[in-house]
Amino acid sequence: MPWDIVVKNWSFLAAGLWATIEIFVVSMIAGTVLGVLMGVLRTSRVFLIQITTRAFIEVFRGLPTLITMFFVYFAVPMLFQIEIPSFLAAVIGLTLWELSEIAEIMRGAIQSIPKGQVEAGRAMALNKAQVLIYILMPQAVRRMLPPLIGVYTRLVKGTALASLVGVNDLVMAGKIVVERTLEPLEVYVFIMAVFFIINYPLSVLSRKLERKLI
């Protein structure tokens, strides 16, 4: 196999990989922050908050991420007469999916902690925010960790969708190199290897933590 195709186009592919990493990091941070927030809101006792957060989560977990991304990229600009750059559309699409997944994990983690602890905290004159920060969160985070990393591995794979709204990510770069060289095998093996190298350690870590924490 003429592996020099990857070497010769290295700077081009590396630029793509960099875009992929950028998309991953930005959506990971945005999705985690918003997801944790949404998860806390989801456990609210106020009916209106409960129902809106639940609807939001059900919609964006139910939709294929590609459809969400296309909606942001094609439909929203038409509706509001604005332009949304590819990169932003990809990040928003991935973040909407990811934050919903994380919110659901967060809700599960909070609700798995015995009610008695909240009551005990309240009995010790802690206010609601203190109960959340000092009692619920530290335990919830431990329980959340394995599925959270699972979501991150899916996010890494999801970044490939960015190429479909025109981001020059690794997948797009690979496609262009293939069109130029007509050597798909090397390029696609390379792309798969890159994603595997990022994802495999994450999924091993997730499984290890799962065994440890249960």
């Binding site: 059900e58 939709l63 294929p64 459809i67």
Partner: protein
């Protein structure tokens, strides 16, 4: 810009065709992935060392690389290796590859969840290995796996949207195809999103029923 209902009404037959194809492809892929999953799980639980290694490698590759790239791999790389399939077959192969990767783990967990005493009891009744697997372990494992299988139908259905990229006429393709000519992106993607949600929510409602029923039986 208002919401053009009439436009969507005109597109309903095409949308329904897309939704139907999405469902058909998803079910075909699920069935094939179940076969891959069962074979892989048997290899992983009762195969030799080499077989276990190969299956393990398959599972890790299937689960840790992007689904989209796997679809491209089958569609663009296979022909250069002399394996030419049309886009439908390519799509089904790729989706079965990653779907199967997940189901191997599902069935392995299911098989391992069957109590060991069942196997011992079967052995003491002088059943052959094949009989133990087919008649004792398998029916119980399948029952344990059923909720996960329905869950993975949702996963597969959502992932089938990627097949639009290789030209398979399913729901996402229909949306792209229509807006390429008519620019009604907002109406089209709203309609398509709604159809996906109806399908996904129906399946997860079904999942809820199955889970509730089996909780008492197990």
């Amino acid at each position: 810009m208002g919401f053009d209902f009439n436009f969507i009404m005109e597109q309903i037959p095409y949308l329904m065709l897309g939704a139907r194809n999405t469902l058909i492809i998803s079910v075909i892929v699920l069935l094939l992935a179940v076969i891959v999953g069962i074979v892989g799980a048997l290899a992983k639980t009762s195969g030799g060392r080499f077989l276990r290694l190969i299956t393990g490698m398959y599972v890790e590759i299937a689960r840790n690389t992007p689904e989209l790239v796997q679809i491209y791999f089958v569609f663009f790389v296979f022909p250069s290796l002399g394996l030419k399939f049309n886009s439908f077959v390519s799509g089904v192969i790729a989706m079965t590859f990653f779907g199967g990767g997940y189901l191997v783990e599902v069935f392995r967990a299911g098989i391992e969840a069957v109590p060991k005493t069942q196997v011992e009891a079967a052995k003491s009744l002088a059943l052959k290995n094949r009989q133990i697997i087919v008649n004792i372990v398998f029916p119980q494992a399948l029952k344990i796996c059923l909720p996960s299988l329905i869950g993975y139908l949702i996963f597969i259905l959502k992932m089938s949207s990627l097949l639009a990229t290789i030209g398979i006429v399913e729901l996402t393709f229909v949306a792209n195809d229509v807006i390429a000519n008519n620019f009604h992106a907002f109406e089209m993607f709203s309609a398509v999103a709604l159809l996906y949600l109806i399908m996904v929510w129906t399946i997860s409602w079904l999942l809820g029923i199955v889970e509730k029923r089996f909780k008492y039986e197990l």
